[in-house]
């Protein structure tokens, strides 16, 4: 293309973008690419003062993303997407990645790698004005590059060091593991359909012969499956495809994928109405899919992180568990929701509150009794984490959900040994026994349901509410057996005749077949994953095992399901007792965000997950060096879910406006915003963090021990709304906090270092009224909305 044609096309596209661009908020430039820049910025050109040569040394940055090493680096950055097309990688290996292709002119070539606009920002307006002979002025100025632009990318990145210097590489076997997480038993009981997360497939097992009969490819990271009423179709939720696979059972093929909400988990087929319920865990909703037309017809709001769903007695209602607790007033005990859906009315019939519980995962109906069972944890998030014995950090058990909505919670732990990570529940067809899998304990508890009910009903109403949920010695009254199974058991189901129970062992690619008479493992069926155990797999096992915590009280997953968060704040011993509650942060995309923890005191993940984790969390000796390598690498590869707020084309117009707010240097009243008060000063780079410990100017009273002259105990109420009470008068109470990354911040609630903000909006509207967390008090409502829209797209 000749320079003239290229310029014309640039101007046309720039004009087109400008035409659809914002009005009233100013116009936004698009990225034109270095070919346009070089028309002037070449030796002898009209803008020869700015040579391109240094930039051209970066021209191979994009091409480097095609290497095998880049795949491994991306994996360690929670990215399994092609690096050459992933926004996070492109931020430093090309230009214009944040805005996306919608904001690229036709002249822009991504394969030119790092270009002028990587540092100077989109140049279309600059080009337009220069071509038009406009006098140099504010509008024609593009951003001046600075050293900080270089630093934003040229930082030490552990993901790169691990691959390029320490030799880490994804191994073929890493992609070949099955990782079964759930199973559905065919209505005739002859076959098991085992949902395998890692292989993106459903493995079909001949139940009688114990052999693998086939494998069906489905969407990415399938999680749950349910049969249609006639058994002809199998519906599989795909957690990272945000879809529901429809499998024709007769042919063993996927015949359709139905789009659903974010990170779908549980699936239920309504036998009467023909609807398919899909729980959108990442969006706190349930999609009702027309079973015939296979289109989403309705979406209902659920609790936080809906996880599993089961049909209640009578078939009219479905019960849905929530993996994360509700947003509650700060420092209140957590509570979680069991949502009851009226399948006839297609409405939420009831929201049952389960006090002081979180991580409600499995749910099952008890045949012959009008009640449901749910698995749950009771995390002691408000108690200083100084002890692990006697259930001081997490207790684990089940909830008995009665028809009127009352929930009796009872523990499966013992005083000296926990039942870590209760995952799934299955009840025998005769309703006499229930299985609960302990993902962190590699064990299954067999519950005698009649004895369970008896154990609960022996207590008074007050005791059932206040005492029974705290007791660690009741399990022996109703636990008939504890059956050791494979590594990381998750889904469980009974055969239709009740003779056998099946438990999938996620991390050794097997199914344990348990004799329901003797409660012994009768057979272990291997699903065909690699026999070799790679370092990543070893790390995955360590991550999911409670063997690494004193008393087997918890695993890493106990607080980080799917590598994410449990929505709680914790009082960690290292920074003193009572004060400094810190929000539990996601593990996704954290490898390159050192320092770690909210206080930024851990320089590496190896330090955080090694010595510090051992001393202040697990209390056992730290991982051995090779184990630590493995678990850190596994953690770093926990995959980032797709962002539903961001289209393939990039930012929408409101999001682009929000980006302008995010990067603004001038307030609405025309004053220059000090650099330390700009969002992008701290939140910059590919992951939107400067990786610095920054003074936290909106330190709240509970962020530091209160120093009172008199030794009076005071009431919380004396401080009114704690969210707007600050220690402004005393710099001694100003803490330094790590600047968190903002990738997928949309599903990271609660927010802020102490988890005080349940929504993004409240970060500013409630907790930044005096501009201590950036200059935001002058923003209009629309600007707030735009800013939030942009942040959700990150």
């Amino acid at each position: 293309m000749s320079p003239v044609l290229r310029l014309i096309s640039t101007l046309i596209l720039t004009g087109a973008v400008a035409a659809q661009g914002p009005t009233g908020d100013g116009e936004f430039p698009v990225f034109v690419g270095q070919s346009v820049c070089r028309e002037c910025h070449v030796p002898g050109g009209s803008a020869a003062d700015c040579a391109l040569d240094p930039v051209l040394e970066h021209g191979g940055a994009w091409a480097a993303l095609s290497s095998r090493a880049a795949q491994s680096i991306a994996a360690l950055s929670s990215i399994r997407h092609e690096p050459q097309h992933h926004r996070v990688c492109l931020t430093c290996h090309s230009a214009g990645a944040d805005e996306g292709s919608r904001w690229h002119a036709a002249t822009f070539r991504i394969d030119d790698g790092v270009q002028c606009e990587s540092c100077h920002g989109a140049g279309s307006i600059h080009v337009e004005q220069q071509r038009g002979g406009a006098a140099a002025g504010p509008a024609s100025l593009i951003r001046r590059g600075s050293l900080s632009d270089c630093i934003a990318c040229h930082r030490a990145r552990p993901s790169h060091v691990e691959v390029l210097e320490r030799g880490f590489a994804l191994e073929p076997a890493d992609a070949q593991y099955k990782t079964p997480v759930h199973l559905a038993v065919a209505p005739d009981g002859k076959r098991l359909y085992v949902v395998c997360e890692q292989s993106d497939s459903v493995v079909v097992v001949d139940a009688e012969g114990g052999t693998v009969a086939g494998e069906i490819a489905v969407g990415r990271r399938p999680h749950h499956a349910a049969f249609s009423g006639d058994g002809s179709r199998l519906f599989v939720s795909n957690r990272l495809s945000n879809s529901l696979s429809v499998v024709d059972v007769a042919t063993g093929r996927e015949i359709a994928q139905v789009p659903v909400g974010q990170e779908p988990h549980g699936v239920l087929v309504d036998p009467s109405g023909g609807n398919i319920l899909v729980l959108n865990t990442g969006q706190n909703s349930v999609s009702l899919i027309d079973g015939v037309g296979l289109r989403e017809k309705k979406r209902l709001a659920m609790g936080q992180g809906p996880w599993s769903v089961a049909l209640a007695t009578g078939g009219r209602h479905a019960y849905v568990t929530s993996v994360r607790p509700d947003m509650v007033p700060f420092l209140d005990p957590p509570r979680s929701e069991v949502s009851v859906i009226d399948l006839t009315q297609e409405t939420v019939a009831r929201r049952i509150v389960v006090p002081e519980a979180n991580m409600l995962q499995g749910v099952a109906r008890v045949p012959g009794r009008d009640l449901m069972l749910v698995s749950l944890m009771r995390t002691k998030s408000l108690v200083p984490m100084t002890r692990l014995s006697q259930g001081w950090t997490i207790t684990n058990g089940i909830g008995v959900v009665w028809p009127e909505g009352r929930v009796d919670q009872i523990l499966l732990d013992e005083p000296g040994e926990s039942f870590p990570d209760p995952m799934d529940l299955a009840v025998s067809p005769d309703g006499r026994h229930a299985l609960v899998t302990s993902g962190g304990g590699d064990v299954v508890a067999v519950i005698d349901v009649a004895r369970l009910i008896d154990a609960v009903e022996r207590f008074s109403a007050r005791e059932r509410r206040e005492v029974v949920p705290q007791r660690l010695d009741l399990g022996e009254r109703f636990v008939a057996a504890r059956v050791a199974v494979g590594a990381n058991p998750r889904g469980a189901a009974f055969s239709p005749d009740g003779r056998f129970a099946f438990v999938v062992n996620a991390l050794d690619d097997s199914v344990s077949v348990i004799d329901a008479q003797s409660w012994r493992v009768a057979r272990t069926i291997h699903l065909g994953g690699p026999e070799v155990i790679t370092p990543l797999r070893r790390g995955e096992r360590l991550f999911h095992s409670a063997d690494n915590a004193f008393g087997r009280q918890f695993s890493c997953r106990s607080c980080h399901p799917d590598g994410h968060i449990n929505g709680l704040t914790f009082d960690i011993e290292a920074d003193g007792l009572g004060m400094h509650p810190v929000d539990n942060r996601t593990l996704r995309s954290i490898f390159d965000t050192a320092p770690y923890k909210w206080e930024g005191t851990n320089p590496t993940l190896h330090w955080q997950c090694g010595p510090r984790l051992a001393v202040f969390f697990t209390r056992l000796q730290p991982f051995a060096p090779d184990e630590l390598d493995d678990v850190v690498r596994y953690m770093s590869t926990i995959e980032l879910p797709p962002n539903p707020y961001r289209s393939d084309e990039g930012l929408t117009l409101p999001q682009r406006r929000g980006k302008a707010v995010f990067e603004r240097a001038v307030s609405n009243d025309g004053r220059t915003i000090a650099p330390e008060q700009r969002c992008s000063t701290c939140h910059n780079g590919a992951l939107f963090t400067n990786q610095q410990r920054t003074p936290l100017r909106n330190t709240m009273w509970f962020d530091a021990p209160v120093r009172l002259e008199r030794f009076d105990l005071f009431d919380l109420e004396e401080f009114g709304d704690m969210g707007v009470f600050y220690y402004l008068e005393s710099s001694t109470h100003v803490n330094r906090m790590d600047v968190p990354h903002l990738i997928n911040i949309f599903d990271g609630a609660p927010y802020m270092h102490n988890g005080a903000a349940p929504t993004l909006e409240e970060i500013w509207t409630r907790f930044n009224v005096v501009d201590d967390h950036g200059r935001t008090s002058d923003l209009t409502r629309r600007q707030y909305n735009d800013l939030i829209a942009y942040l959700k797209a990150l």
Binding site: P334, V383, T386, D473, R612, V615, Q621, F714, L716
Partner: protein
């Protein structure tokens, strides 16, 4: 006892003794007696008899409660002692030479404990129809309390080379047959055990260590740890009572017997005190009662843990008139449940019951009576089989350790800081007692909590108690304070007017930098804490210091048990 039963027992005794004599003479198969049902409760028909004949064995034989002797033969007992789990591995036996016939129950045991001379470790190997013994400690005048390392290759023991030197801790490499000195003691070591590894933030990597019991300046047996090379000695117990027996549990904690009371004769250093089981971390933190019934007037001495989690301990009555002993076990996962009685006898005593494998104990037992002595037995916890393994009329077998590899407990990571002279205490709700919170009009309002510190000058002298201070209790029942580390402490809840509402009967301590939490006062160990952010933690803790001006507390026995 009915005459018919007596006749049967007499016949059985004769048969048994005859078998023993025959086997000893001809080194052929022995017959053993079997306990039909491992527990022989008081009052049951129980028969034990000592056979004292020329070179004859003096073995316990136990008859079943029904009075009949099951004399089923067992191949190779004493030659290659077989059990349901297979051949008994080699055993290290601690023996005390019998100088005179003590004629009094427990005399050899007491002598060994107090450091009697002429004790040794004997290695027993059961090979091809014969028992091979080897003195592992020929250069020692005293050697005892053997403990086998987790890899089964080394033996830790307490030994003394000469009478003019105090006993120390030694280690034998069983492969190289080399003995090395681990740690010395001015006042004499009593027992030692291998520990899980310890780690702190200031250490590059976890280190192996041992624990041992040594008398402190006041003569009280206290618990110490050191690295396996003998360096970095740390005292980790600071109770008023002495420590009697220590073993490492599979979860990495230590189980100790600790004197809890000397009410019977507080100033008599030789008087037996009640000993209860406590567990603590290898850095001395988080001392907790291990079993219920702490003050039943018994002595409970820890023995070890089976590979499937049963913690074994000996129990003897404090009262001299109550002879007899029992081997009990509780599951570590639920140690506050009622113990399971494995063996119980009113007519003899046990000195050790060392677990090995999932269901076996190596037991040293001696029936009461003149001329009796301690022999070595294998007890199968599942079948109840109680089989003789070895005896020597000239030596009492007072301790034993089985040479078998076992899983090392997980290492422990410590927050203890040597540069921190204080530890912290916080309580979530002082109104929480037992399994529930006291409430209603009957619940006396707790105004404050009083902290008492004990100063003990020498063994047998009741400690002086001083008042360290009082801190207010928040209306939600919580309190938060900072106290000197490494001193015996006791708490009392105080009501209106300063009256004591509840008082701990036993002492505890905090280690430097430890942040010790409790749910309530006299909370049940089966209770997990409620998830509450308590008011006392809204501010920094009140620091109580020990500066010499702390007022002495008039001697008054605590009346309310608050373990």
């Amino acid at each position: 006892m009915a005459s018919r039963e007596q006749h049967q027992l007499a016949e059985a005794e004769t048969e048994f003794v005859g078998n023993v004599m025959h086997s000893m003479t001809h080194r052929s198969r022995w017959t053993h007696s079997r306990i039909a049902g491992s527990m022989l409760p008081n009052g049951a028909t129980f028969f034990a008899r000592l056979c004292e004949r020329k070179r004859a064995s003096m073995f316990l034989f136990v008859l079943c409660t029904a009075g009949s002797l099951d004399a089923a033969s067992t191949e190779g007992i004493g030659v290659a002692a077989r059990s349901e789990g297979g051949v008994v591995p080699a055993i290290v036996v601690a023996q005390v030479q019998r100088i005179t016939d003590p004629g009094e129950a427990g005399a050899p045991a007491a002598a060994a404990q107090s450091g009697i001379e002429r004790s040794r470790l004997l290695l027993l190997r059961f090979e091809e129809g014969t028992t091979v013994s080897e003195n592992l400690t020929p250069g020692f005048v005293r050697a005892g309390r053997p403990e086998v390392s987790f890899d089964g290759r080394r033996v830790l023991f307490v030994g003394q080379r000469s009478t003019d030197k105090a006993s120390g801790v030694w280690e034998i490499d069983l492969v190289a047959r080399e003995t090395r000195h681990v740690v010395s003691s001015k006042r004499g070591c009593v027992a030692a055990t291998y520990l899980s590894r310890l780690f702190t933030l200031h250490a590059p990597q976890p280190w192996a260590q041992i624990a041992y019991i040594e008398r402190d300046e006041a003569g009280i047996p206290a618990l110490y740890t050191c690295r396996i090379d003998g360096s970095d000695v740390r005292r980790i117990s600071y109770g008023v009572g002495g420590v009697e027996g220590v073993v490492a549990l599979q979860n990495g904690r230590l189980l100790v017997g600790m004197e809890t009371s000397r009410e019977q004769s507080p100033t008599d250093p030789d008087a037996a005190a009640a000993v209860a089981l406590f567990a603590l971390n290898p850095d001395g933190t988080d001392l907790m009662a291990f079993t219920r019934d702490m003050d039943r007037g018994v002595r409970r001495i820890p023995q070890g843990e089976t590979s499937d989690g049963w913690v074994v301990f000996l129990e003897t009555a404090l009262a001299r008139e109550e002879k007899g002993a029992a081997i009990l076990a509780v599951r570590r996962a639920n140690s506050f449940a009622a113990p399971r009685a494995l063996l119980k006898t009113p007519d003899g005593t046990f000195r050790c019951a060392t677990p090995w494998g999932t269901s076996h104990l190596v037991v040293t037992y001696r029936p009461w009576g003149k001329g009796t002595f301690f022999g070595l037995f294998d007890f199968n916890m599942e079948s109840g089989d109680f089989r003789p393994l070895h005896h020597d009329p000239d030596w009492d077998a007072v301790g034993a350790a089985v040479i078998v590899e076992r899983a090392a407990p997980p290492g422990y990571s410590s927050v203890v800081r040597d540069d921190a002279p204080f530890g912290q205490l916080y309580c979530l709700d002082a109104y929480m007692t037992g399994l529930a919170r006291e409430s209603g009009t009957d619940a006396a309002r707790i105004e404050s909590v009083r902290v008492l510190v004990a100063e003990r000058s020498q063994r047998g002298v009741w400690p002086t108690e001083r008042r360290l201070g009082e801190v207010p209790v928040a209306e939600d029942g919580s309190f938060f304070l900072e106290v000197p580390a490494r001193v015996p402490l006791r708490l009392e809840t105080v009501g209106e007017g300063g009256g004591t509402l509840r008082a701990m009967r036993n002492w505890f301590w905090v280690m430097p930098g430890e942040r010790r939490g409790c749910i309530g006062c006299h909370e049940d160990r089966a209770l997990s804490p409620p998830n509450r952010h308590v008011k006392a933690l809204y501010h920094e803790p009140r620091r109580l210091t020990l500066d010499g001006d702390n007022p002495r507390v008039p001697e008054a026995r605590p009346e309310v048990d608050l373990p």
